[in-house]
């Protein structure tokens, strides 16, 4: 009795797992698509996964993904991550060779001996300092003694805020900094657990649309040409597939130019990739239109040196990293024309 009932249970459990495995991997689909010519043609094309997070600073990544769905050049597949530590660990383990990443974090990787290069920028500006709606703060000075949230110590937002404090004569200990995951910031502000935060969009626009927060500064006003994220590739990729890197940089550049000229369409196209409300993305791209910019994406030595020096000062970097080692500008195209994007097809694909 005992043996038969236990054996039956084990068999049932195994059968259940087998059914789940079949449902999970859908072998019939693989078989069906394996026979079609379409799959064969995409298989022969070069492919590359590019990491991004659902923030508007990374908007050119999904746009490039979309643009290369149908083109004959390299296919760039955007891979959505939920946090930067996972991105970093994926690069270190060699499972991700190209991604958007916080600029100081890219330098930190280089310092740790991970051979990555900054080959392009993802955006300019596009971060915002938000304060509580009911707080009568006009500048950073009014935030003395308040709780201020930053995404992480290694974020460029942290560097800029410290630079600003220094410029305004505010001591380090006068503002209470806390680190919070960006998606939690609007909620913390609404609950009055924090008084202000500085973060990449759309996590600031969210509080603005909710009516719980007010814009204190746009990044463009406190540090024109602000960079938070850069396009990083592994040196192995540069060595083994330089043409793919060239295609990628051109793709990002052209996607940026297209997004500049078609802001409403860009919001519509990227919202499903981000799985965010289109209204929030549209707000970021249009209120005001220069809240975030996707032009002038060539990183200058001066840009990177400034970030590097601040990162060193704050202690994110432990030792100087020569900028020439970090950056590689050979793939940047001379001429940038907008990407060729068919919005009608995008609508059909999303429906």
């Amino acid at each position: 009795m005992f043996r038969s009932s236990t054996a039956r249970f084990v068999l049932m459990a195994l059968a259940f797992i087998s059914v789940l495995t079949v449902l999970r991997f859908k072998p019939w689909q693989r078989f069906a698509t394996g026979n079609t010519a379409v799959t064969n043609s995409t298989k022969s094309r070069e492919q590359l996964g590019v990491g991004f997070l659902p923030v508007t600073c990374h908007l050119t990544c999904p746009v490039t993904d979309y643009a290369t769905r149908t083109s004959t050049a390299t296919r760039f597949e955007s891979q959505r991550f939920t946090d930067f530590p996972t991105v970093v660990e994926s690069i270190k383990s060699g499972r991700l060779q190209a991604t958007f990443l916080l600029a100081p974090l890219a330098m930190k990787l280089r310092e740790q001996g991970v051979p990555v290069k900054i080959v392009y920028l993802g955006h300019r500006d596009g971060s915002t300092v938000m304060v509580r709606q009911d707080l009568a703060a006009e500048s950073l000075r009014d935030l003395r003694g308040k709780v201020f949230a930053i995404p992480s110590r290694a974020s460029n937002q942290n560097l800029v805020i410290h630079k600003l404090m220094e410029d305004q004569g505010i001591r380090e200990d006068e503002i209470r900094f806390v680190e919070l995951p960006p998606p939690d910031m609007p909620g913390a502000l609404a609950a009055k657990a924090i008084d202000a935060y500085f973060v990449g969009e759309p996590h600031a626009a969210k509080a603005e649309l909710d009516g719980t927060g007010r814009v204190l500064h746009h990044a463009k006003d406190i540090w024109p040409g602000f960079i938070s994220c850069v396009l990083v590739v592994h040196e192995d990729l540069i060595r083994d597939r330089p043409e793919v890197v060239r295609d990628l940089v051109r793709g990002i550049a052209e996607s940026g130019e297209w997004a500049e000229q078609h802001r409403l369409d860009a919001a519509k196209l990227s919202a499903p990739y981000f799985r965010q409300n289109e209204r929030v993305v549209r707000h970021v791209l249009t209120q005001p239109p220069d809240r975030v910019s996707y032009r002038m994406l060539t990183p200058t030595d001066e840009d990177l040196q400034q970030i590097h020096d601040m990162a060193l000062k704050i202690g994110i970097l432990e030792r100087p990293v020569p900028i020439a080692e970090v950056v590689d500008r050979q793939f940047i195209p001379q001429e940038i024309k907008p990407a060729n994007i068919d919005m009608q097809a995008a609508k059909d694909a999303n429906n």
Binding site: T86, S93, R95
Partner: protein
């Protein structure tokens, strides 16, 4: 349950919290429909069930035999039990960087994390169950001339099964709790991933959808495991 939903509805109707941060029951119903229509919900459920069941089955398949050995052999027990306790105390979240390093992103690291969360408690519970079998059972078995695999089948397993099943029930709950953390690195699907993704996407309605589905499946899984206790071979253990 009904009271909770009413309270939830009242709180959201009074807009005690901003509506985009605290969705109303109606928003969540709409989110449900959206997820069902797009087919994502079903895919997420299958992905999560697959990962949890596989991780849990491997943990049970390896954990119960190891527990049997540890329970029977005092020397092994003394050597390995501290180790089991050590690993049992570690949060699966701490393993995430290594899970990515060893298994990349997708099903494998999630299964690994679920395994890590459930394996050690199963070993421990089985060890304790074996160690608590009254020695008189074994003496009687000896009188009957039982030994080796026969002893295992006729005495040890029936004696520990009630406790092992209780342990499996508790651990299955644990594995299901861990799925949210484990699927942080799942890449593109799973109920846990859907929760992280909804957070990133600022979609609290979808986050609540994920919570409700995870809770509901947890209840169903527990009901199924409770049925095991009704088997004649183990029922005695609960009726003592």
């Amino acid at each position: 349950m009904f009271l909770i939903v009413v309270l939830w509805g009242v709180l959201s109707a009074l807009t005690v919290f901003p509506s985009s941060l605290f969705p109303s029951p109606l928003d969540v119903v709409r989110g449900f429909l959206e997820e069902i229509q797009s087919g994502r919900l079903l895919d997420d459920i299958i992905a999560s069930l697959f990962r949890v069941c596989t991780g849990f089955a491997i943990a049970a398949g390896a954990g119960v035999p190891l527990g049997l050995v540890l329970g029977h052999r005092a020397r092994f027990r003394q050597a390995l039990l501290p180790l089991v306790n050590f690993f049992r105390s570690l949060s699966p979240l701490a393993w995430i960087p290594f899970a990515i390093l060893w298994f990349g992103i997708g099903d494998l690291p999630a299964i690994f994390l679920i395994f890590m969360a459930s394996f050690f408690p199963i070993v421990l519970a089985t060890t304790a169950a074996v160690a608590s079998i009254p020695t008189i059972y074994f003496r009687v078995a000896e009188d009957y001339g039982l030994g080796g695999s026969q002893l295992l089948r006729e005495v040890t397993l029936p004696a520990i099964l009630p406790q092992v099943i209780t342990a499996l029930r508790v651990t299955a709950g644990l594995a299901w709790v861990v799925v949210v953390a484990a699927e942080m690195i799942a890449g593109r699907d799973g109920l846990g991933f859907a929760i992280w993704d909804a957070r990133n996407g600022l979609r609290m309605d979808l986050l609540v959808v994920g919570m409700i589905v995870i809770g509901a499946i947890g209840v169903v899984v527990d009901r199924l495991l409770v049925r095991l206790m009704l088997l004649p071979s183990v029922r005695w253990g609960y009726e003592r």
